[in-house]
């Protein structure tokens, strides 16, 4: 295979395919969220545009395109425009290290179903998570609006606090698997050796921190409507608002991908390899398995949002620092002791 094809064209094709899938996923998630909210609150939700209202996200995007883009007069224009771009870039680039299936053999060469197979996939995810706060913080600052600013401040404090427990929870996974590579971690979870069984406490901590990092209820303080109008995106309209919206839902999907990969066996369907199917069929089934697992987690995110009320700010901080962090550290210590004893 020529170098240009191997290093430029194939990765480019993967990037385009995966990003388009992610964007379609975002549209579907928005629709699913509104329909589920309708179901939970005993009303219909959007059901007019297209079959079951499926085309509603498309109509919304068109509507947002047509809206006037308003920038407040005293806002910092440059950073006001930069913030949504940062948000969406980081939301879309985290997915690069997620493996979607075993490598497949096609035309005599091996293809990895993963954009970037890096040695330190887990750390890449944590780094991207820690960058996610920039979009929210900068938008809150640049809008020159006290509600936006409060939203931005809350968000940065919240995300920094929960990042810590998230990182310590992930260390448990690294100890059990002895690697930072995501595809090795997934392969180690063959059969029923899912990390959720080996690391149940770590899973709970990671899941809770993921809710906090994506600013979803019960941790949606950065945009708490009753107190902060719209929080950090109060002063955003038109396409810039659409970008924030897009990055929020992309973050939900990517978190679902990460949770699945780290704790729920990734693309593994238990004992699929022992059925004697052709490799290509196995890969396709693995992708479908992965999508179903993601769907379940995304649905869980939505379900929680319309069921559990928001935390108060002090409760949020107490939970993050006095409950989750000690729990994560205890989990890490116990895991380390067990791993050392079993060696």
């Amino acid at each position: 295979m020529p170098a240009a094809v191997q290093y430029i064209i194939i990765p480019l094709v993967k990037v385009v395919l995966i990003q388009i899938t992610l964007l379609i996923g975002v549209a579907l998630t928005v629709w699913l969220e509104r329909r589920t909210a309708g179901f939970i609150q005993d009303r219909y939700g959007p059901n007019r545009v297209g079959p079951f209202g499926l085309l509603q996200p498309v109509a919304d995007v068109v509507k947002l395109f047509m809206k006037e883009d308003i920038v407040p007069e005293k806002a910092n224009k440059f950073i006001h425009s930069l913030a949504p771009a940062i948000s969406v870039t980081i939301a879309l680039s985290t997915i690069a290290v997620i493996p979607f299936a075993d490598p497949i053999q096609l035309f005599g060469s091996e293809f990895k179903l993963q954009i970037a197979d890096v040695n330190i996939g887990i750390l890449y995810i944590l780094a991207m998570v820690s960058l996610g706060v920039y979009g929210v913080t900068l938008s809150g600052w640049a809008s020159n609006n006290k509600y936006s600013l409060l939203g931005g401040l809350r968000s940065s404090a919240q995300m920094i606090s929960y990042e810590l427990s998230m990182g310590v929870a992930v260390l448990g996974i690294i100890l059990v698997n002895g690697t930072f590579e995501l595809d090795t971690i997934v392969q180690n979870q063959a059969g029923w050796k899912w990390n959720i069984i080996l690391q149940p406490v770590g899973f709970l901590i990671f899941l809770t921190a993921a809710f906090a990092e994506t600013n979803r209820t019960p941790f949606d303080l950065p945009e708490a409507e009753q107190e902060l109008v719209g929080g950090y995106h109060t002063e955003y309209s038109s396409l810039k608002f659409a970008l924030f919206f897009l990055s929020e839902y992309a973050n939900v999907i990517v978190s679902a991908c990460v949770i699945t990969t780290l704790y729920l066996g990734g693309y593994q369907f238990p004992y699929l390899q022992t059925f004697g199917l052709s490799p290509v069929l196995v890969s396709i089934l693995q992708i479908i398995t992965f999508l179903i697992k993601i769907f379940i987690i995304v649905f869980f995110f939505i379900w929680i949002r319309w069921t559990v009320p928001r935390f108060r700010y002090d409760q949020l901080m107490v939970l993050g620092w006095k409950v989750m962090l000690p729990l994560a550290l205890a989990n890490l210590t116990i895991t380390a002791i067990i791993v050392t004893l079993l060696k």
């Binding site: 910092n76 950073i79 960058l131 920039y134 401040l153």
Partner: protein
């Protein structure tokens, strides 16, 4: 035709240096902070060019995801909430020139006297395991001292914050 690594190196070097100038000379402190973002990211990119992936990602996590966000947090708290504009002025220019010149000379001396490892980097080399082993064997003492110093700093900061 220089190879792709060289071209990328010069692109990132140019970005780092030019944005460093903005960090120092910008009149608005938030622009300094945002430019620091680019500078630190560029440095991470240089580490990746050297195949030091672990170092690069640590750079992003610690400096960009940790320290810089705290800086921006501090700037936001002071300029927008307490109405005290932070002015970026230059104080003690003359001693600063001498100090920077001294640092520059030291860096040049280090650059010229160090025996650099110029072997081409190994593709897909896993550096994490070796760094971990070195930190817990050969460099255990400096590693422990650094962590104790950080812990003391943390306690000190907490104590000062409690005082009022």
């Amino acid at each position: 035709m220089p190879d792709i690594n060289t071209i990328l190196f010069y692109i990132f070097a140019f970005l780092i240096v030019s944005f460093s100038f903005i960090v120092v000379f910008a009149k608005n402190i938030i622009y300094s902070a945002v430019s620091l973002f680019v500078t630190l990211f560029g440095t991470a990119a240089l580490y990746i060019l050297l195949r030091a992936d672990f170092l690069a990602i640590t750079q992003v996590m610690v400096y960009i995801g940790g320290i810089l966000i705290l800086l921006i947090f501090g700037i936001m708290m002071t300029t927008r909430i307490t109405d005290s504009e932070i002015k970026t002025t230059n104080l003690s220019s003359v001693p600063a020139v001498f100090v920077s010149a001294g640092v520059f000379v030291i860096l040049i001396i280090v650059l010229l006297t160090t025996k650099w490892n110029i072997n081409p980097p190994v593709e897909n080399d896993v550096t994490v395991n070796r760094i971990g082993n070195l930190l817990l064997t050969t460099y255990l003492l400096p590693f422990e001292i650094a962590s104790v110093v950080l812990l003391i700093a943390l306690m000190g900061a907490a104590m000062y914050a409690r005082k009022k």
